[in-house]
């Protein structure tokens, strides 16, 4: 996942569609995010490239909407409903995910296992 600024990035992504769960007033997705361009990327335990300031899934609540949809801890979120998540602040990402008006969020996520799977399939 390392990339050079200004250079295109190729990533294998999976679509994840999460239907938010209504809990009283709140709509919840059931996962937590870390990272963002305003955060210290070196502390991200999930990134391969420690300069990656992307948004990562840090926790997924058991049985929650995110887990049901197949989101996994350590996934890097590339897009939320078509919005780029690779160059946003933590708070922007959070706001983007928690829009009250949206009951469904569609994520593009990437993870290493996906990358490897595709690489292998391309090699073979």
């Amino acid at each position: 996942m390392s990339y050079v600024p200004g250079q295109p990035v190729t990533a294998v992504v999976q679509r994840v569609e999460i239907h938010k769960l209504r809990q009283g007033e709140n709509l919840i997705l059931g996962f937590s995010i870390g990272g963002g361009i305003d955060q210290d990327p070196s502390q991200n335990p999930f990134s391969e490239d420690k300069t990656d300031k992307g948004i990562y899934v840090t926790r997924v609540s058991e049985g929650g909407p995110a887990e049901i949809a197949g989101l996994q801890i350590g996934d890097k979120i590339m897009q939320v409903n078509g919005w780029d998540m690779t160059m946003v602040t933590h708070d922007q990402a959070r706001k983007r995910l928690t829009k009250r008006s949206e009951e469904v969020v569609r994520l593009l996520v990437t993870r290493q296992s996906l990358q490897k799977a595709v690489q292998q399939s391309m090699l073979s």
Binding site: P8, T10, I37, D38, Q39, Q79, M87, D91, V118
Partner: protein
């Protein structure tokens, strides 16, 4: 302030490269998409075609050089079409200044402009490529548009304004036409040339469609008098013109040398691409809000901006530049040296990807060497200068090595000199290059810019420039420069007045003489304002003299506070401009009680011992006239005395009456500002703003002068204490810290102390507990914060039995003991033990403590432990930070010169805050450049040990280890 890269078009190139990977389905999808977009362009295309036809009809000028140049023009057009790939890559050259500005806001690190091509794995196991960048497809489309302008399906240019071509003439077809060479080419080129003389205005009638006319205008008229006209636009298509891959057939063109001058008439690079991105936006994501997505952030702005600018270019600059361009081969620009006499492209410049290079085996133009680019800055031809500067800006983007070389090759004085160039375009480009060159950790470039008079030149340019883009560039550059310590005073000397009066005051909405009838104006958060406030934010941390200059700069404080007021009024408190403004006023509030003129008149006598009752605050010695007479003040103190007996609801505060409205720096410490800061603390979600607002209250409540007394009371009266207590739960470490210290200062007021003791204790203890055993991994508070919280607890339990009881009730003792025993930090352990000692000192509590199973030894061993092996001997055995606040501040004053570097002297738990960057020891900061970073970024330097023997070396190690902010983690 980050740098700006020209453009973001890499994706397109990559896609072209990787065509082989794409599945047929994807190609189909992409073709459909393009088809749709093409529709958008068709209308404009048609208009252009009419224009061309018109030109052709009237182009009956068989000029002397006409025959010679005709094939050339054709060649240019056709060749462009042949390399959509390289065009797309060249599109990275276009300037997209807005992008960079926005990056600034987000964080001053430029971040990484990325574009993403992703492979989507669908559930059925097939993979396909998609792209997160909407721009790519659009780019391709426009390429095609160009392609189709000159060539009809029959290989002839369409001159009759007939229906647009079928949209998908493809590369091979064009190549085919190229091979055919002559006939249509001649016609077409005559078309282009004809426009030069005859119909200057036509292309302007095509709004937003400058690209095509420029494309056609690529050729300047030759042999005839150059004049304004469609040819104007020829500057705008450098990339296209650079992109000359070798055609598969014989070259119909004239000798390569002849084409050179044109290659580098290049001007605003690739405007089309931005315009196209706009179109992409319109279709792509309907709910784009400019703030949130990088793509959105870039495009609407730069699309619009560039489009309009492109337009202007045609009208003004382009025309001028054109006229001045000396006749043809004489001034072959040095940039475009053909290699082996063949045609090439500049793509390597843009995309250094080796794979891309090797994939395209064609020979290409040699990239100009850096010395050549710099030499071109002195080129007699202005467009060459402008282009060289623009190219330099591009080269310097995130490339420290190039920046260094530019300095070593003495490029900075050249660029600075160009800031005073008569041509706007040259000034703008030079400033753009300087902005990138001034960005980065490397302070040498900043110093070099200073050494050649860069700051005054930039300020001059700011005064002269009306164009907001130039103003953004200038203020952005100044922002970059302002992060370099030695430059701060230079900027103040040369720029403070101009920045204040040209930018801050007009944008803040503040009017020196408000019109009674009209509503107060709101602040405008322009980029220029953001940059300027960022610059002033940096310079405001330069010490007492800088603060004095800023405070006394007429209108500055008034305007900043007005802007903040307006932000609160509009509930728009999260943006960067607000953050910058709060940080400035916070910095300016630092040490007001010592630094403002006449401050000594308001000094209070030495306050009583820490925690002394409010009534112990003796009256100030001076006359009370300035704030409403002795009576008012006496009343107020009686009030303060009575406060103890009154319940909070009837807590009132008689603020001193002024004979005239406060203005200038006086506004900083008027009790009225409390409401402003509390509003920010309530409203804002930007934790830098929160920290700064809490820090401002902390600064204002610190001093031992009457205004601090008023401020402390005003916070209570405005119901500020609950607001602050709530922020103790903030997930952001530094907010907790600022709030904790503010509470500590506020508790100098006896009534506040009682209230804080009863209401804040639980939260404070909770922080202690989470320091000892974080609720979640990674949320442990920083050492500074823990110490600040502990010191606040110490302050409020000192001299207050009730508060000590509250601590016991909040089960603070076990938390403190556990922290003291387990903490890796000497300071934390020490601070905890001091609190415990204080608690133990209340004989009334001992029985209760013993009943809970605590023994004296426990309390003392904790203390002893803290002083034990971990702690280096420190004078007095106490951590400075546990000393009473006010005395401590006086301590800070005693050693000569300490006042000049307040934060270093006071250390992180000092009782006033400044921007953290202030804490960095001058000149010895290996990291440098911290001011360009957001405060929340890891900033190891700020933990540099303050001078003084009482700081054990061990702590330094601890501190460095802890220096990073904890990662934020949010449930969604």
């Amino acid at each position: 302030m980050p740098e700006c890269r020209h453009g973001f078009g890499d994706a397109g190139a990559l896609v072209m490269e990787d065509c082989s990977v794409r599945s047929a389905a994807t190609i189909l999808a992409s073709v459909r998409e393009q088809e749709a977009r093409f529709e958008l362009l068709t209308r404009a295309l048609e208009q252009e075609r009419r224009h061309v036809a018109l030109q052709l009809e009237r182009a009956q000028q068989p000029g002397a050089g006409g025959g010679q140049s005709l094939p050339m023009a054709w060649q240019q057009l056709v060749l462009q079409e042949q390399s959509p790939g390289s065009q797309a890559s060249l599109a990275t050259m276009p300037e997209a200044p807005e992008v960079l500005e926005e990056t600034v806001t987000v964080e001053e690190d430029p971040g990484t402009p990325t574009s993403h091509v992703s492979i989507v794995t669908s559930e059925d196991g097939t993979t396909r490529r998609t792209e997160t960048k909407v721009t790519k497809t659009v780019k391709t489309v426009t390429t095609r548009t160009l392609r189709q302008v000159p060539v009809g399906p029959d290989g002839l240019p369409l001159l009759d304004g007939g229906p647009p071509l079928g949209p998908f003439t493809d590369g091979p077809l064009d190549r085919h036409f190229l091979l055919r060479g002559g006939g249509p080419a001649a016609t077409l080129s005559r078309t282009c040339l004809g426009g030069g003389g005859g119909f200057p205005d036509e292309p302007r009638d095509v709004p937003g469609y400058g690209s095509l006319s420029r494309g056609l205008g690529v050729r300047p008229p030759r042999g005839g008098p150059p004049g304004p006209g469609p040819g104007d636009g020829c500057f705008t298509l450098p990339s296209r013109r650079e992109a000359f891959p070798v055609g598969p057939g014989p070259e119909p063109g004239p000798p390569a040398s002849r084409s050179q001058p044109e290659r580098f008439q290049a001007e605003p690079y690739g405007l089309e691409d931005d315009a196209r991105s706009l179109a992409a936006d319109e279709e792509g994501a309907p709910e784009l809000e400019p703030d949130y997505c990088t793509a959105a952030r870039r495009r609407p702005d730069c699309g619009r901006g560039l489009r309009s600018r492109a337009y202007e270019d045609v009208v003004d600059d382009g025309g001028e530049l054109m006229e001045e361009r000396p006749p043809f081969p004489a001034t072959a620009a040095p940039l475009a040296q053909p290699e082996r006499g063949s045609l090439g492209s500049l793509e390597r410049v843009v995309r250094r990807s080796p794979s891309a290079d090797s994939a395209r085996k064609e020979p290409r133009w040699r990239d100009p060497e850096l010395p050549e680019v710099l030499a071109m800055l002195r080129h007699p031809v202005d467009p060459v200068k402008a282009n060289a500067a623009a190219y330099l800006q591009h080269l310097c983007f995130e490339n420290e090595a190039v920046k260094r070389r530019v300095r070593q090759l003495r490029g900075l004085p050249l660029l600075v000199a160009l800031l005073d160039h008569p041509r706007a375009e040259v000034r703008r480009r030079a400033c753009g290059a300087l902005r990138n060159l001034s960005y980065g950790r490397d302070a040498d470039n900043k110093a070099a810019i200073r050494d050649c008079g860069g700051v005054p030149a930039l300020v001059r340019l700011l005064r002269a420039a009306r164009d907001s883009e130039v103003r953004e560039l200038v203020t952005g550059t100044l922002w970059n420069l302002s992060s370099y310590e030695p430059l701060k005073m230079v900027i103040i000397d040369h720029g403070l007045q101009t920045l204040t009066h040209e930018v801050i005051v007009p944008n803040s909405g503040w009017e020196p003489e408000p019109n009674e009838d009209s509503k107060p104006r709101d602040a405008e958060w322009t980029t220029v304002f953001k940059n300027t406030s960022g610059c002033l934010r940096n310079v405001s941390s330069d010490g007492a003299e800088a603060r004095r200059r800023l405070r006394e700069c007429e209108g500055l404080v008034d305007a900043l506070l007005h802007a903040l007021q307006s932000a609160v009024g509009r509930k728009d408190t999260d943006n960067k401009s607000v953050e910058n403004c709060v940080c400035i006023v916070r910095n300016l509030s630092y040490h007001v009680h010592k630094e403002v003129p006449g401050a000594e008149r308001y000094q209070e006598a030495e306050p009583g011992p820490p925690g002394g009752s409010g009534s112990a605050q003796r009256r100030s010695r001076e006359d009370a006239g300035c704030f409403g007479g002795k009576k008012a003040k006496e009343e107020w103190f009686h009030q303060g005395k009575r406060d103890g007996e009154m319940d909070q609801n009837s807590d009132t505060l008689d603020l001193p009456k002024r004979t005239e409205a406060a203005k200038g720096f006086e506004l900083l410490y008027q009790p009225e500002v409390v409401r402003l800061y509390l509003s920010l603390l309530t409203e804002s979600r930007n934790f830098n703003t929160l920290e700064a607002a809490a820090g401002a209250l902390q600064n204002l409540s610190a001093g031992n002068w009457v205004w601090a007394t008023y401020i402390r009371a005003a916070v209570r009266k405005e119901r500020g204490l609950p607001v602050l207590v709530e922020l103790l739960q903030s997930e952001t470490d530094k907010v907790v810290r600022a709030v904790a210290i503010a509470l500590r200062n506020l508790s100098l007021d006896r009534r506040n102390k009682d209230l804080i003791g009863s209401y804040a204790m639980a939260e404070l203890v909770r922080n202690v507990r989470s320091a000892q055993a974080p609720a979640r991994p990674g949320v442990r508070l920083e050492e500074d914060t823990v110490v600040a919280v502990l010191n606040t607890i110490h302050e409020i339990v000192s001299d207050s039995l009730d508060n000590a009881r509250s601590l016991l009730q909040a089960r603070g003792v076990p938390a403190l003991v556990a922290l003291g025993a387990s903490s890796q930090s000497v300071r934390e352990a020490k601070a905890a033990s001091h609190v415990l000692q204080t608690v133990w000192s209340y004989k009334e509590l001992r029985s209760a403590l013993q009943k809970d199973g605590w023994s004296k030894a426990r309390f003392q061993s904790a203390a002893a432990n803290a002083r034990g092996p971990k702690a280096a001997p420190s004078p007095g055995g106490l951590d400075d930070s546990t000393l009473p606040l006010v005395e401590k501040s006086l301590d800070g004053e005693k050693p000569g010169g300490r006042d000049m570097i307040p934060m270093e002297a006071l250390g992180p738990d000092g009782y006033s805050t400044m921007d953290r960057r202030e804490r960095r020891p001058r000149g010895s900061d290996p990291a440098g450049e911290t001011s360009e970073k957001e405060p929340l970024k890891p900033d190891p330097s700020r933990k540099a040990p303050p001078p003084g023997p009482s700081r054990p070396a061990v702590r330094l190690v601890d501190a460095v280890g802890d220096a990073r902010p904890q990662p934020v983690d949010s449930w969604v």
